[in-house]
């Protein structure tokens, strides 16, 4: 306060007016900074604690709900590992202001998020699973889109090889599924052996 006083006398302006003004400025900036500094504390499965801005953390609906229950304490995520969580938070920070439109995220995958998703399969699936359990729809959407891009246009055998999936059908089962059942379904005609 003393500081303010001396300044106003120096400037030759009405000191009372300026005091009131500076008080309001102090009050507002306190409010503003307290809003900014609201962080969520999140503990991952491997006991690492992350301090994340609330706006970023609550992009996850799961965290949002848990924050309501924990009211200021540490939010425990028992099935998310810190390395994946760090990645997820990195993504969330980038998109905190981007809103809910999933079409936008589809487009963003082609541009700014392309490198984020250039990861190997293990990481991609962990991202998908985490996005699902943390309920971050746009991230899940992009992850699925990336997955789809991988398998788009591939045959059954190519998909199995790419994703290292074992074919557990017997020949008869595969035959029945492919030929008999599919001949009756419209849109599956490319597989009929007539």
């Amino acid at each position: 306060m003393a500081f303010t006083w001396s300044k106003t006398i120096y400037m030759g302006l009405d000191p009372i007016f300026l005091t009131e003004l500076s008080i309001s400025i102090i009050i507002f900036s306190t409010i503003a900074s307290s809003k900014k500094s609201r962080v969520s504390k999140i503990k991952t499965a491997d006991n690492e604690i992350f301090e994340v801005e609330e706006a970023v953390a609550t992009m996850s609906n799961t965290i949002k709900i848990m924050a309501g229950d924990c009211s200021g304490g540490v939010i425990p995520l028992n099935n998310v590992h810190s390395t994946i969580f760090a990645r997820v938070i990195e993504w969330c920070k980038k998109h905190v202001d981007d809103g809910e439109d999933l079409e936008y995220y589809k487009g963003a995958l082609k541009n700014c998020d392309a490198t984020f998703f250039e990861v190997d399969q293990a990481v991609l699936y962990h991202l998908l699973t985490t996005a699902n359990s943390l309920d971050i729809k746009p991230l899940l959407h992009q992850g699925c889109q990336r997955f789809v891009d991988m398998i788009n246009g591939k045959t059954v055998e190519e998909i199995r090889q790419l994703l290292h999936i074992k074919n557990d059908f017997t020949n008869e089962e595969e035959d029945e599924t492919r030929k008999k059942l599919w001949s009756s379904v419209v849109g599956m005609n490319s597989f009929i052996l007539l």
């Binding site: 190997d120 998908l128 699925c144 994703l163 290292h164 074992k166 599924t177 599956m188 490319s190």
Partner: protein, 547 residues
């Protein structure tokens, strides 16, 4: 979740390479993903089923079918999450139905299509389907000629959740539909096309238990569509009514809909001041009348539905300016108006001036074969300030003066289509300097417009989408101007009478139209309206004779 020793080099994901890079940067520690080091493994096994199902939703049917064959787990996830299924409903698939619906156990939307060459599913099969698909909300039947009234009735009893029913080219009739309306009390949409059983002696249809839930009725190519009168009148929450190419007179039914307390015998109401006193609790918002016998009496009756937002009056030569004036004066909420005057000259400036005077909410206007001039178009351009989409087709009176005044006055216009009108480059010039909100423009078959004008326009208004090819085959252009959900006038024709010569019935709507156009080479110089006018007059003779 097998670990498959993969012999092939996986080019896409050389996991070991990436892993070594990542672990050296310390990003992913080896104790986190211990199995990585061993071999390539199936990570998708760790994605929860719901996640995998979500991925499948992104896939087109071809890719989805591929995925369903990858392994047993993917097959079951695909099956559980497949809600929409379309079957070739010929009689041979009966044996497969049990296993089909074991695999696809969550189907809510089902289409059963049978071609004319095959024998269709029988009643028993339909009933079996209804037992297996307890949550069916939508059913589409096409050409299932072996299904009878009894079969539909049994089906309906098992399908309490049905919301939409669309049946075309089947043999059952009024009894079947009444059963559906009695048992499926959640029914919201009913679409009936060419049902042979709705003949002249058919019993009345409706209202049934579904009367309060029904929101849309669409009748196409019926001999005795009037048998739906009780349903149309007593469905209190009906929002959309479409009557397309159905025989008989429709004025009476429209009068009864407009005035449920009347007796349907009112004369033409020359004094419209007491309209509101007759207005029942009518919730209709959208009405399509196409190729039916309806006159100004019917239009006047429609005008009593004051909440109408979307009105199509297509090829109804008995409707004149008078009827349009009635509608305009009473339906202030009108947003979309499509008029195909069929060049009969009965609807023109007088009616449109009334629209300009009363319908300030108009957003979309399509005029085909309507001789509008500067008089009405200037009025519409000035008064309908929300007009965003405009199509003017096949009119000999729309010229440079008309387009110029549109360019000058239509501030909100976003999409414009001009086809087969005697405009010249002057119009293009005017449009280049006017219509500040214009985003998309299409000019077709306007002989007076040269390609240089198109070039000039591209330079003037770089951000606009400009489509000015004179000679391309083009189907359903009205639909491209208007927003979604509009009945595609241009595409409807070839489907109506299969026996009309030259019609190719195997391809889809747009393909058929293109084929028709190429076959009708001698019409190449004329516009769409003229050539289809010819087809319709031929079709008329055929249609009556082929019942």
């Amino acid at each position: 979740m097998g670990q498959s020793p993969s012999a092939t080099v996986d080019r896409e994901n050389s996991l070991s390479d990436r892993f070594s890079i990542l672990s050296s940067s310390g990003f992913i520690s080896s104790e986190e993903f211990p199995d990585e080091i061993v071999a390539n493994r199936d990570y998708t096994a760790e994605i929860p089923d719901e996640c995998l199902a979500y991925v499948f939703q992104f896939l087109g049917p071809g890719d989805r079918n591929q995925c369903s064959l990858v392994c047993k787990r993917w097959l079951s996830v695909d099956g559980e999450s497949r809600h929409r299924l379309s079957l070739n409903a010929h009689s041979e698939i009966v044996a497969l139905l049990p296993s089909l619906f074991t695999r696809f156990d969550s189907v809510t939307k089902l289409a059963l299509r049978c071609s004319r060459k095959s024998l269709s599913l029988t009643d028993d099969a339909l009933v079996m389907i209804s037992i297996r698909c307890r949550n069916l909300t939508r059913l589409k039947l096409r050409g299932c000629r072996e299904i009878s009234d009894e079969g539909m009735s049994a089906f309906a009893q098992n399908s309490k959740n049905l919301r939409k029913l669309s049946c075309g080219s089947c043999m059952f009739g009024a009894k079947a539909l009444n059963a559906v309306l009695d048992y499926c009390w959640n029914l919201e949409e009913l679409s009936v096309k060419r049902l042979r059983g709705i003949h002249d002696g058919a019993e009345p249809i409706g209202p049934g238990a579904a009367a309060s839930s029904l929101k849309m009725i669409c009748l196409k190519e019926l001999v005795n569509g009037q048998s739906f009168e009780p349903l149309m009148i007593r469905s209190k929450n009906l929002k959309t009514l479409k009557i397309i190419h159905c025989l008989g007179d429709w004025d009476r039914v429209l009068q009864l809909i407009g005035n449920p307390n009347g007796n349907g015998k009112e004369k033409l109401n020359f004094n419209n001041n007491n309209n509101n006193s007759n207005c029942g609790s009518n919730s209709l918002m959208e009405i399509h009348l196409e190729r039916i016998q309806v006159s100004d009496i019917g239009l006047s009756a429609i005008s009593k539905s004051a909440k109408i937002e979307n009105l199509h009056i297509v090829k109804t030569p008995e409707c004149s300016n008078y009827g349009l004036v009635c509608v305009a004066e009473n339906c202030k909420l009108l947003r979309k108006l499509h008029i195909d005057g069929w060049r009969t000259n009965r609807i023109g400036d007088e009616g449109l001036v009334a629209v300009a005077k009363h319908c300030f909410n108009l957003q979309e206007l399509v005029l085909i074969g309507v001789n509008a001039t500067y008089l009405s178009l200037a009025a519409i351009a000035s008064n309908c300030t929300k007009l965003e989409r405009l199509a003017l087709c096949g009119s000999g009176t729309i010229g440079d003066a008309e387009i110029s005044c549109i360019a000058e006055k239509c501030m909100a216009l976003k999409k414009l289509c001009i086809k087969g009108c005697p405009i010249s480059n002057i119009s293009i010039g005017a449009l280049g300097c006017g219509c500040p909100s214009l985003v998309k423009i299409k000019v077709r078959k306007c002989r007076g417009v040269s390609s240089e004008a198109g070039e000039w326009l591209r330079e003037q208004r770089g951000s606009m989408v400009i489509n000015m090819d004179a000679c391309e085959i083009d189907g359903g252009f009205e639909a491209s101007v208007s927003d979604g959900g509009v009945h595609e006038i241009g595409v409807e024709f070839p489907q109506v009478v299969g026996q009309v010569t030259g019609a190719d019935t195997s391809t889809s709507g747009n393909g058929r139209l293109a084929l028709l156009r190429s076959k009708l080479g001698l019409f190449a110089g004329r516009n769409l309206v003229a050539c289809t006018l010819r087809r319709w007059s031929n079709a008329d003779d055929n249609f009556n004779g082929n019942l």
